[in-house]
Symmetry: C2
């Protein structure tokens, strides 16, 4: 399968790396909103085109992975490009998924394309596990915990505070809450009881650190509902110890059978050194599925919940039954 990348940031570069791990995939081209001459992909010889020329190149690739941000890029981009080709994105604003789905579905249906939105690990692999587990254990309760990992949104929010030069925020699940869930205690957990937030901040010289810390801790939506720790560190330490983008989390469902006589725990967890590279790996596996669905004449917008698991694998159905089932 020939893959086109639209947007060459952390996620786009991750897709480029993931393509190399899949012998049946090749990177066909990269599209950018910047000046194409200013961008040099890591892979030798990959053409770079301006996004305005997508329509001129649609015959040269099988699927386009749109690597924009969910806040402002994808709501506009995915419906537009779904009119030109088969597309996949990692739209992760949960509350706006129905609206994004409707827009992409309309565009893809009207033009005979197939699109897959909200593909990654949450939404994505975590969603799969929520659906499988709740279907199998109807009498139960599920919990999603995130972390330990870097929240880009929270880090950005800190960086916007006057006097802050750089910042990194880690979301951390509360161990006692995880234990209570695993023990089948079905706790009702507030946001504060589920996660803590740890912030590493590089302050500008002469900045009022006490004021920065107060601003962080009291920031509505982002921090005020959480137990938040703030550490001021040097620029060197930020670079040495906090330059990665680790993440992960847990989806746990506990439930019972036989009128509550027998309890069961289903747990799925991810521990990721690189959030964008792992998300990119999920996108490339689903790009394979999308190409298969397109080949079957499927049109419209889909999500990971609509895709048969076998479609993600390069192996044949026979091989999967013999060795993976």
């Amino acid at each position: 399968m020939r893959i086109a990348i639209l947007g060459y940031g952390n996620l786009g570069r991750g897709v480029e790396l993931a393509v190399r791990q899949n012998p049946d995939a090749e990177l066909a081209m990269v599209f950018t909103r910047r000046d194409p001459d200013s961008l040099k992909p890591a892979t030798e010889g990959i053409p770079v085109y301006h996004v305005s020329s997508v329509k001129d190149h649609v015959k040269e690739f099988d699927v386009m992975i749109i690597c924009g941000g969910s806040a402002t890029d994808l709501p506009g981009q995915t419906p537009v490009y779904a009119r030109l080709t088969h597309v996949i994105d990692s739209f992760d604003t949960h509350a706006r998924i129905p609206e994004h789905f409707a827009n992409v579905d309309k565009a893809a249906r009207e033009t005979g394309h197939v699109a897959l939105i909200s593909c990654g690990w949450d939404p994505g692999l975590f969603s799969l596990n929520r659906v499988y587990a709740s279907s199998v254990l109807p009498e139960g309760k599920d919990y999603t915990f995130w972390g330990k990992g870097v929240s880009q949104g929270h880090s950005d929010a800190i960086r916007r505070i006057p006097g802050v030069k750089d910042a990194k925020q880690y979301t951390i699940p509360v161990p006692d809450a995880l234990d209570a869930v695993r023990a089948g205690k079905n706790p009702e957990l507030t946001v504060r009881q589920k996660h803590t937030r740890e912030c590493f901040v590089v302050a500008e010289e002469g900045a009022d650190k006490a004021e920065i810390e107060r601003t962080i801790r009291t920031m509505p939506n982002y921090f005020s509902d959480y137990d938040t720790t703030v550490h001021f560190i040097s620029e060197e330490e930020m670079k040495a110890s906090h330059s990665g983008m680790p993440h992960g989390g847990f989806v746990i469902r506990t439930g019972s059978t036989a009128d509550g006589t027998h309890n069961h725990v289903i747990e799925y967890s991810l521990k990721l050194d690189s959030n964008p590279e792992f998300t990119a790996s999920v996108l490339v596996a689903y790009a394979r599925a999308l190409v298969r669905m397109a080949g079957e004449g499927t049109t419209g917008c889909k999500t990971v919940l609509d895709v048969p698991p076998a479609y993600l694998s390069p192996l044949s159905a026979e091989e999967l039954r013999a060795h993976y089932l």
Copy 2:
């Protein structure tokens, strides 16, 4: 959906319990190889018929869950009943899946039915996780551990030893092996390094316990390749402490991206108080999927790898996108 159960043992009774947890499902009837008058289902008013009369009742249910054993029942039963109706089984002899698939596929295709084989947790939910994880992290290694849980086959093997009145065998994953896998060390593990076996045995009066223990420990295939512990206990203790059928296990894949720079761990685990009741719960969720696939005109044999996750849920696609994605 109206569900028929064929075979009313531990698994069949588990399906009956699982059906009660699913408001869109009802138990239509039970088929048995025994004298139907000798069997009284736990649910009031459920008709019991002899297996020879399945063909007379196929219009009275939507899907049949065949609850036989993999060793001798299912290889014969599933192809036979796939000629009469839509069927689902939990065939779990991994090495014989391709052969069983071919037989069931032929029967179902020739008669326009859809069948699903090898549905439970392994094969089943564990298979899904092996396929998802290996597709997402092509450069990696996966491991399946079972337990702590009761192995019916190993317990039966002990019970066949002269002088043994009753026996229960627990398969236990080795904690150090689990830790090494989670740490991404990609260990090469022998069977002995992955699992230990713990046996609880009630000996007949006057039996030679040393000889029983020796026979267990040296039994080829079952025990000789494992570190095995044997405990002799009283009949009362067996009943009090070992009457359950707990099981579970772990599917872990570790892999890397960016030429080995970043490591990732995907872990799925189950901790089940009742193996047959949980397996039955999986079967009922997939029965829902099977009815949907039959409604779309799908025919032939399928496995969990072919089923879109959304088909397992009683919720609509819209509800799933809004609340589970």
